[in-house]
Symmetry: C2
Subunit: 119 residues, 2 copies
Amino acid sequence: MLNGAMTERVARRFRALSEPMRLRILQALESGEKPVNDIVALLESSQPNISRHLKALCQEGLLERRRKGLKVCYSIADPMVFRLCDLICRSVTEQTRSQLAELDAISGNSRRTGHRARR
Amino acid sequence: MLNGAMTERVARRFRALSEPMRLRILQALESGEKPVNDIVALLESSQPNISRHLKALCQEGLLERRRKGLKVCYSIADPMVFRLCDLICRSVTEQTRSQLAELDAISGNSRRTGHRARR
DNA sequence: TGTCTATATGCATATATAGATATATAGGCA
DNA sequence: TGCCTATATATCTATATATGCATATAGACA
Protein backbone atom coordinates (compact mmCIF):
# COMPACT_ATOMS: atom_id res chain seq x y z
CA MET A 1 0.00 0.00 0.00
CA LEU A 2 1.41 3.35 -1.09
CA ASN A 3 0.75 6.74 0.39
CA GLY A 4 0.01 9.73 -1.82
CA ALA A 5 3.54 11.00 -2.35
CA MET A 6 4.89 7.52 -3.05
CA THR A 7 2.11 6.88 -5.56
CA GLU A 8 3.23 9.99 -7.45
CA ARG A 9 6.86 8.89 -7.35
CA VAL A 10 6.04 5.41 -8.59
CA ALA A 11 3.86 6.81 -11.38
CA ARG A 12 6.69 9.09 -12.47
CA ARG A 13 9.07 6.17 -12.65
CA PHE A 14 6.61 4.19 -14.73
CA ARG A 15 6.31 7.18 -17.00
CA ALA A 16 10.06 7.36 -17.47
CA LEU A 17 9.87 3.76 -18.69
CA SER A 18 6.89 4.30 -20.97
CA GLU A 19 8.83 5.27 -24.10
CA PRO A 20 10.18 2.59 -26.45
CA MET A 21 13.26 4.70 -27.16
CA ARG A 22 14.11 4.86 -23.47
CA LEU A 23 13.67 1.11 -23.07
CA ARG A 24 16.01 0.64 -25.98
CA ILE A 25 18.56 2.88 -24.29
CA LEU A 26 18.35 0.79 -21.13
CA GLN A 27 18.84 -2.37 -23.13
CA ALA A 28 21.82 -0.85 -24.90
CA LEU A 29 23.38 -0.26 -21.49
CA GLU A 30 22.57 -3.66 -20.04
CA SER A 31 26.00 -4.97 -21.02
CA GLY A 32 27.79 -2.04 -19.37
CA GLU A 33 28.32 1.71 -19.51
CA LYS A 34 28.56 3.45 -22.88
CA PRO A 35 29.35 6.98 -24.09
CA VAL A 36 26.58 9.01 -25.67
CA ASN A 37 27.87 8.73 -29.22
CA ASP A 38 27.91 4.93 -29.00
CA ILE A 39 24.29 4.92 -27.91
CA VAL A 40 23.37 7.31 -30.71
CA ALA A 41 25.04 5.03 -33.23
CA LEU A 42 23.34 1.91 -31.84
CA LEU A 43 19.85 3.35 -31.73
CA GLU A 44 19.94 5.37 -34.92
CA SER A 45 18.31 8.46 -33.51
CA SER A 46 19.54 12.06 -33.34
CA GLN A 47 22.13 13.00 -30.75
CA PRO A 48 19.96 15.72 -29.17
CA ASN A 49 17.07 13.33 -28.84
CA ILE A 50 19.17 10.66 -27.15
CA SER A 51 20.73 13.26 -24.87
CA ARG A 52 17.33 14.38 -23.71
CA HIS A 53 16.20 10.84 -23.01
CA LEU A 54 19.40 10.18 -21.09
CA LYS A 55 18.76 13.23 -18.99
CA ALA A 56 15.20 12.12 -18.24
CA LEU A 57 16.37 8.65 -17.20
CA CYS A 58 19.07 10.19 -15.01
CA GLN A 59 16.66 12.51 -13.30
CA GLU A 60 14.40 9.57 -12.54
CA GLY A 61 17.33 7.74 -10.97
CA LEU A 62 17.42 5.03 -13.62
CA LEU A 63 20.83 5.93 -15.03
CA GLU A 64 24.10 7.26 -13.71
CA ARG A 65 26.35 9.69 -15.49
CA ARG A 66 30.11 10.00 -15.34
CA ARG A 67 32.62 11.85 -17.42
CA LYS A 68 35.42 9.81 -18.93
CA GLY A 69 37.94 11.98 -20.70
CA LEU A 70 36.28 13.78 -23.56
CA LYS A 71 33.18 11.63 -23.38
CA VAL A 72 30.29 11.18 -21.01
CA CYS A 73 29.32 7.65 -20.09
CA TYR A 74 25.95 6.49 -18.87
CA SER A 75 25.23 3.30 -16.97
CA ILE A 76 22.36 1.46 -15.33
CA ALA A 77 21.75 2.80 -11.83
CA ASP A 78 19.70 -0.16 -10.61
CA PRO A 79 19.46 -3.46 -12.51
CA MET A 80 16.05 -3.88 -10.90
CA VAL A 81 14.72 -2.19 -14.02
CA PHE A 82 15.36 -5.36 -16.02
CA ARG A 83 13.30 -7.39 -13.59
CA LEU A 84 10.43 -4.97 -14.22
CA CYS A 85 10.69 -5.45 -17.96
CA ASP A 86 10.98 -9.19 -17.57
CA LEU A 87 7.88 -9.41 -15.39
CA ILE A 88 5.85 -7.40 -17.88
CA CYS A 89 7.21 -9.34 -20.80
CA ARG A 90 6.13 -12.63 -19.21
CA SER A 91 2.71 -11.26 -18.39
CA VAL A 92 2.18 -9.97 -21.92
CA THR A 93 3.32 -13.25 -23.43
CA GLU A 94 1.08 -15.27 -21.15
CA GLN A 95 -1.96 -13.11 -21.90
CA THR A 96 -1.34 -13.33 -25.62
CA ARG A 97 -1.14 -17.08 -25.33
CA SER A 98 -4.51 -17.19 -23.54
CA GLN A 99 -6.11 -14.97 -26.13
CA LEU A 100 -4.85 -17.24 -28.87
CA ALA A 101 -6.26 -20.28 -27.10
CA GLU A 102 -9.60 -18.51 -26.83
CA LEU A 103 -9.63 -17.74 -30.53
CA ASP A 104 -8.75 -21.33 -31.31
CA ALA A 105 -11.64 -22.48 -29.18
CA ILE A 106 -14.11 -20.15 -30.87
CA SER A 107 -13.04 -21.15 -34.35
CA GLY A 108 -13.35 -24.80 -33.44
CA ASN A 109 -9.67 -25.49 -33.67
CA SER A 110 -9.39 -27.58 -30.55
CA ARG A 111 -6.38 -29.63 -31.52
CA ARG A 112 -3.75 -27.54 -29.79
CA THR A 113 -5.66 -26.21 -26.81
CA GLY A 114 -7.87 -29.11 -25.91
CA HIS A 115 -10.70 -26.59 -25.40
CA ARG A 116 -14.10 -27.39 -26.76
CA ALA A 117 -15.31 -25.12 -29.57
CA ARG A 118 -18.43 -23.05 -28.99
CA ARG A 119 -21.09 -24.22 -31.32
CA MET B 1 16.43 -8.83 -24.49
CA LEU B 2 13.25 -7.60 -26.20
CA ASN B 3 12.54 -7.43 -29.90
CA GLY B 4 10.94 -4.36 -31.43
CA ALA B 5 7.30 -5.31 -31.08
CA MET B 6 7.75 -6.49 -27.49
CA THR B 7 9.53 -3.27 -26.59
CA GLU B 8 6.48 -1.35 -27.80
CA ARG B 9 4.14 -3.59 -25.83
CA VAL B 10 6.16 -3.24 -22.65
CA ALA B 11 6.35 0.53 -23.08
CA ARG B 12 2.58 0.70 -23.48
CA ARG B 13 2.08 -1.26 -20.30
CA PHE B 14 4.42 1.06 -18.42
CA ARG B 15 2.44 3.97 -19.80
CA ALA B 16 -0.82 2.49 -18.54
CA LEU B 17 0.76 2.49 -15.08
CA SER B 18 2.19 5.99 -15.30
CA GLU B 19 -0.84 7.85 -13.91
CA PRO B 20 -1.31 8.24 -10.15
CA MET B 21 -5.07 7.91 -10.54
CA ARG B 22 -4.69 4.56 -12.26
CA LEU B 23 -2.33 3.30 -9.58
CA ARG B 24 -4.90 4.31 -7.01
CA ILE B 25 -7.57 2.37 -8.89
CA LEU B 26 -5.36 -0.73 -8.84
CA GLN B 27 -4.79 -0.32 -5.13
CA ALA B 28 -8.51 0.07 -4.56
CA LEU B 29 -9.00 -3.29 -6.26
CA GLU B 30 -6.19 -5.09 -4.48
CA SER B 31 -8.62 -6.43 -1.87
CA GLY B 32 -11.01 -7.77 -4.52
CA GLU B 33 -13.35 -6.78 -7.31
CA LYS B 34 -15.49 -3.65 -6.99
CA PRO B 35 -18.26 -2.00 -9.00
CA VAL B 36 -17.53 1.30 -10.70
CA ASN B 37 -19.57 3.43 -8.32
CA ASP B 38 -17.63 2.08 -5.32
CA ILE B 39 -14.35 3.02 -6.98
CA VAL B 40 -15.69 6.47 -7.81
CA ALA B 41 -16.69 6.98 -4.18
CA LEU B 42 -13.33 5.75 -2.87
CA LEU B 43 -11.17 7.85 -5.14
CA GLU B 44 -13.28 10.99 -5.15
CA SER B 45 -13.07 11.63 -8.87
CA SER B 46 -15.77 12.00 -11.49
CA GLN B 47 -17.53 8.89 -12.78
CA PRO B 48 -16.61 9.54 -16.44
CA ASN B 49 -13.00 10.01 -15.52
CA ILE B 50 -12.84 6.76 -13.56
CA SER B 51 -14.64 4.93 -16.36
CA ARG B 52 -12.09 6.04 -18.88
CA HIS B 53 -9.21 4.97 -16.69
CA LEU B 54 -10.89 1.60 -16.15
CA LYS B 55 -11.22 1.16 -19.86
CA ALA B 56 -7.57 2.01 -20.42
CA LEU B 57 -6.46 -0.49 -17.77
CA CYS B 58 -8.73 -3.14 -19.27
CA GLN B 59 -7.40 -2.60 -22.75
CA GLU B 60 -3.87 -2.98 -21.46
CA GLY B 61 -4.83 -6.30 -19.86
CA LEU B 62 -4.37 -5.03 -16.31
CA LEU B 63 -8.02 -5.32 -15.28
CA GLU B 64 -10.91 -7.64 -16.01
CA ARG B 65 -14.49 -6.58 -16.41
CA ARG B 66 -17.62 -8.51 -15.57
CA ARG B 67 -21.24 -7.52 -15.28
CA LYS B 68 -22.95 -8.34 -12.00
CA GLY B 69 -26.66 -7.51 -12.13
CA LEU B 70 -27.09 -3.81 -12.62
CA LYS B 71 -23.45 -3.07 -11.92
CA VAL B 72 -20.15 -3.66 -13.65
CA CYS B 73 -17.32 -4.99 -11.55
CA TYR B 74 -13.63 -4.62 -12.25
CA SER B 75 -10.86 -6.77 -10.83
CA ILE B 76 -7.10 -7.22 -11.04
CA ALA B 77 -6.19 -9.33 -14.07
CA ASP B 78 -2.69 -10.20 -12.91
CA PRO B 79 -1.42 -9.55 -9.36
CA MET B 80 2.03 -9.26 -10.87
CA VAL B 81 1.30 -5.56 -11.09
CA PHE B 82 1.74 -5.24 -7.34
CA ARG B 83 5.18 -6.78 -7.55
CA LEU B 84 6.10 -4.10 -10.08
CA CYS B 85 4.95 -1.35 -7.75
CA ASP B 86 6.72 -2.94 -4.84
CA LEU B 87 10.01 -3.21 -6.71
CA ILE B 88 9.87 0.43 -7.72
CA CYS B 89 8.85 1.50 -4.27
CA ARG B 90 11.85 -0.24 -2.74
CA SER B 91 14.18 1.23 -5.32
CA VAL B 92 12.88 4.75 -4.75
CA THR B 93 13.13 4.38 -0.99
CA GLU B 94 16.66 3.04 -1.20
CA GLN B 95 17.79 5.84 -3.51
CA THR B 96 16.26 8.47 -1.29
CA ARG B 97 18.07 6.97 1.67
CA SER B 98 21.39 7.17 -0.19
CA GLN B 99 20.79 10.75 -1.17
CA LEU B 100 20.06 11.63 2.41
CA ALA B 101 23.26 9.97 3.54
CA GLU B 102 25.16 11.96 0.93
CA LEU B 103 23.66 15.21 2.15
CA ASP B 104 24.52 14.30 5.71
CA ALA B 105 28.10 13.68 4.67
CA ILE B 106 28.38 16.99 2.85
CA SER B 107 26.93 18.96 5.72
CA GLY B 108 29.37 17.32 8.10
CA ASN B 109 26.76 15.34 9.94
CA SER B 110 28.75 12.13 10.10
CA ARG B 111 27.12 10.57 13.12
CA ARG B 112 24.66 8.38 11.24
CA THR B 113 26.56 7.65 8.04
CA GLY B 114 30.12 7.43 9.23
CA HIS B 115 31.16 9.36 6.12
CA ARG B 116 33.66 12.12 6.45
CA ALA B 117 32.41 15.62 5.66
CA ARG B 118 34.02 17.50 2.77
CA ARG B 119 35.94 20.45 4.05
C1' DT C 1 43.89 31.17 -22.62
C1' DG C 2 42.10 29.45 -27.00
C1' DT C 3 40.37 25.77 -29.73
C1' DC C 4 38.09 21.69 -30.80
C1' DT C 5 34.97 17.85 -29.85
C1' DA C 6 31.33 15.68 -27.31
C1' DT C 7 27.31 16.69 -25.18
C1' DA C 8 23.46 19.58 -23.71
C1' DT C 9 19.84 22.99 -24.42
C1' DG C 10 16.43 26.38 -26.85
C1' DC C 11 12.72 26.74 -29.78
C1' DA C 12 9.00 25.22 -32.78
C1' DT C 13 5.74 21.67 -34.14
C1' DA C 14 2.95 17.71 -33.77
C1' DT C 15 0.68 14.44 -30.99
C1' DA C 16 -1.20 12.36 -26.86
C1' DT C 17 -4.07 12.45 -23.03
C1' DA C 18 -6.15 13.92 -18.27
C1' DG C 19 -10.07 16.02 -16.63
C1' DA C 20 -14.75 18.56 -16.89
C1' DT C 21 -19.36 18.64 -18.69
C1' DA C 22 -23.07 16.95 -21.26
C1' DT C 23 -25.12 13.13 -23.23
C1' DA C 24 -25.63 8.34 -24.96
C1' DT C 25 -26.04 3.43 -24.15
C1' DA C 26 -26.78 -1.05 -21.93
C1' DG C 27 -29.29 -4.14 -19.60
C1' DG C 28 -32.23 -5.49 -15.54
C1' DC C 29 -36.89 -5.34 -14.36
C1' DA C 30 -41.98 -4.12 -14.36
C1' DT D 1 -41.82 -3.17 -24.78
C1' DG D 2 -40.61 0.81 -22.00
C1' DC D 3 -38.37 2.80 -18.01
C1' DC D 4 -34.71 3.50 -14.86
C1' DT D 5 -30.05 3.16 -13.12
C1' DA D 6 -25.23 2.29 -13.77
C1' DT D 7 -21.81 2.88 -16.91
C1' DA D 8 -19.73 4.50 -21.19
C1' DT D 9 -18.70 7.94 -24.69
C1' DA D 10 -18.35 12.58 -27.22
C1' DT D 11 -16.42 16.97 -27.10
C1' DC D 12 -13.60 20.60 -25.44
C1' DT D 13 -9.60 22.65 -23.08
C1' DA D 14 -5.30 22.54 -21.00
C1' DT D 15 -1.02 20.40 -20.45
C1' DA D 16 2.81 17.33 -21.37
C1' DT D 17 6.29 15.68 -24.21
C1' DA D 18 8.76 13.37 -28.41
C1' DT D 19 11.30 14.90 -32.16
C1' DG D 20 13.95 17.90 -35.54
C1' DC D 21 16.94 21.65 -36.26
C1' DA D 22 19.94 25.20 -34.70
C1' DT D 23 22.95 26.59 -31.30
C1' DA D 24 25.15 26.81 -26.70
C1' DT D 25 28.18 24.83 -23.28
C1' DA D 26 31.71 22.03 -21.01
C1' DG D 27 35.98 20.40 -20.51
C1' DA D 28 40.32 18.11 -22.45
C1' DC D 29 44.42 19.50 -24.46
C1' DA D 30 47.83 22.49 -26.98
